[in-house]
């Protein structure tokens, strides 16, 4: 434990929606209640909505932020029922004490009566809490989207148009990542023994694999399999007192751009530029100080764009990070040494797989015979690891260092 956060943050205003109670005559959706409460609380304190730097709300903090056009530095959607707000206040206290931000809002919009009476109409459960003002069911679902690949492909098309990249450029990411998987016995695509299509692949293999959502082919897409993982964190005071070595969280940052793809400002850029800037600043380091990277590769396009956002390549040249084997085994700048979501393991939320491999690389256990064979362990003492969530929506970046 470092500094005591006691009284390092205060509640400076509190307010409610314009009308609360049984809103039979004038029912309101959850988002309308959120907006009224936030307008009133900011007015009470004499600040602008755009002054809000952080947002917490059970389940929907990101959706409320998108609705308000905010790009918060800190997002907490912790949903553990009615006590979520107290818990979020503690999370916010810790974050303010740590200097992550200065002004945040905890917000609530819950038409409990209107949901019971059906006053809000149908709409079914959907994006944004299931209320019928959810934009997803009204404005995206009618056009048949069928999961992440059908969304992310739009970003790749735009990248190819805007920056002149090609499907072959992105395919190289899959090829190099597969090379790493051949050094990881636990990778789904380690070899022909682990999967009929396992083992090394070529750019042509990727380009000739089955079309999923043009311009994404099958081998541009991550696996969907099973995974469980966990990491332990401990205070600096005791971190050296275990039989396992510490890997330090030198920097951290989080950011968002949108919740729905419709609201993505630039289809070739994610908020990882912001989360990475925050993480680098906290660490007092920059991309030039990183010796490897672990980059969320739900699709080749995710990894390619994120490489740019992390400052590892100039804008528009993300896929080039993987060119000429540079990011592969024995390369100058190793990336996704576990074989990635593309070829190691991806269960839906891949961020834990990223953290586990990041730890192993910096702890020096990446080729212990079980999780890696000769050639997988790098010499890196520092790395940047970035997770991407939603539809290229949310990002979390860590800068990790070894002793």
């Amino acid at each position: 434990m470092s500094s005591n956060p006691s009284k390092q943050a205060a509640i400076i205003a509190a307010a409610e929606a314009d009308e609360i109670g049984y809103l039979d005559d004038n029912p309101k959706t959850s988002m309308m209640l959120h907006v009224e409460a936030i307008k009133n609380v900011t007015h009470e304190a004499g600040i602008k909505i755009s002054d809000i730097e952080a947002i917490a709300s059970p389940g929907v903090a990101g959706n409320v932020a998108e609705y308000l056009g905010l790009d918060p530095k800190w997002i907490d959607t912790t949903q553990i029922g009615g006590c979520s707000f107290q818990v979020q206040a503690q999370h916010m206290l810790a974050a303010i004490n740590a200097g992550i931000f200065d002004i945040g809002v905890i917000t609530h919009g819950e038409p409990g009566w209107a949901r019971r009476t059906g006053a809000l109409g149908g709409g079914g459960r959907g994006f944004g809490g299931g209320d019928p003002d959810s934009p997803g069911p009204q404005f995206e679902a009618p056009y048949g989207p069928a999961g992440a690949p059908t969304a992310y492909s739009h970003a790749m098309t735009r990248h190819m148009h805007q920056w002149g990249s090609t499907q072959a450029d992105f395919a190289q990411i899959a090829v190099t990542t597969r090379d790493w998987a051949t050094l990881n016995p636990r990778a789904i695509m380690h070899s022909k023994e682990t999967h009929p299509y396992g083992g090394a692949v070529t750019v042509d293999d990727v380009l000739n694999s089955r079309l999923i959502s043009w311009p994404l082919n099958l081998l541009d897409c991550c696996l969907v399999c099973d995974h469980g993982g966990a990491v332990l964190l401990a205070s600096a005071d005791i971190a050296r007192s275990f039989r396992t070595p510490p890997v330090w969280i030198a920097g951290s940052g989080e950011a968002m751009d949108h919740a729905m793809l419709m609201e993505m400002k630039d289809f070739t850029a994610t908020s990882a530029s912001l989360s990475a800037a925050r993480a680098y600043k906290m660490a007092g380091m920059g991309p030039e100080d990183m010796e490897m990277a672990m980059i969320y590769d739900s699709f080749t396009v995710t990894a390619g764009i994120t490489a740019e956002m992390l400052g590892l390549t100039p804008r528009g040249e993300g896929p080039g990070l993987w060119a000429d084997g540079n990011a592969g085994p024995g390369g100058k700048f190793p990336v996704n040494t576990n074989g990635g979501g593309l070829s190691f393991n991806h269960s839906g939320m891949y961020g834990m797989q990223l953290l586990v491999e990041s730890y192993r690389q910096l702890a020096g256990t990446a080729e212990d015979g079980i999780h890696g064979i000769a050639g997988k362990q790098t010499n890196a003492k520092s790395l940047v690891v970035n997770g991407t969530g939603g539809s290229l929506s949310f990002t979390g970046t860590l800068v990790l260092t070894a002793d």
Binding site: T29, A141, Y143, G144, P145, A146, T150, T157, R158, L261
Partner: protein, 139 residues
């Protein structure tokens, strides 16, 4: 309309009512902030650009441009049998962007689809109450 076999959206009768009312008439109605004059989509009760609550609705031109697109080989909500089909994000002439299924393009020739191509809205009567917009490339 009886043969409309895709998912029919349930309108939000609060925030988006003018949009769906307009759709029934074959008109693209968009929300615009009278404080900063910017159009936003999806509809909101507050302007996402300046946080004013002074929102007006107006009839838009129904003209837009392809921002980006993809060819889908699988689909949900009744679209599976239509695959391959082309989805796209359309930059509205009046501002902001929306999602659609694109018409007037060949899903087998994505290389021939031009980002920036001009599109025009058209409406399918999905039910007595709901018309769903599609966009057709017109150049």
């Amino acid at each position: 309309m009886a043969d409309y076999n895709k998912m029919i959206p349930t309108p939000d009768k609060f925030t988006s009512k003018p949009y769906w009312d307009g759709a029934k008439e074959g008109k693209l109605m968009l929300p615009r902030c009278t404080t900063c004059n910017k159009v936003h989509f999806y509809p909101r009760v507050i302007c996402p650009f300046c946080h004013s609550s002074d929102i007006e609705w107006f009839e838009a031109s129904g003209e837009g441009y392809i921002h980006t697109f993809a060819v889908q080989t699988r689909g949900s909500g009744g679209w599976q049998d239509d695959a391959p089909f082309v989805t796209a994000y359309i930059d509205l002439k009046e501002g902001d962007r929306l999602f659609t299924v694109l018409r007037g393009v060949d899903p087998d020739k994505p290389q021939e689809i031009q980002i920036g191509a001009k599109c025009q809205i058209e409406w399918d009567e999905a039910s007595d109450e709901i018309s769903v917009p599609y966009w057709r490339v017109v150049e």
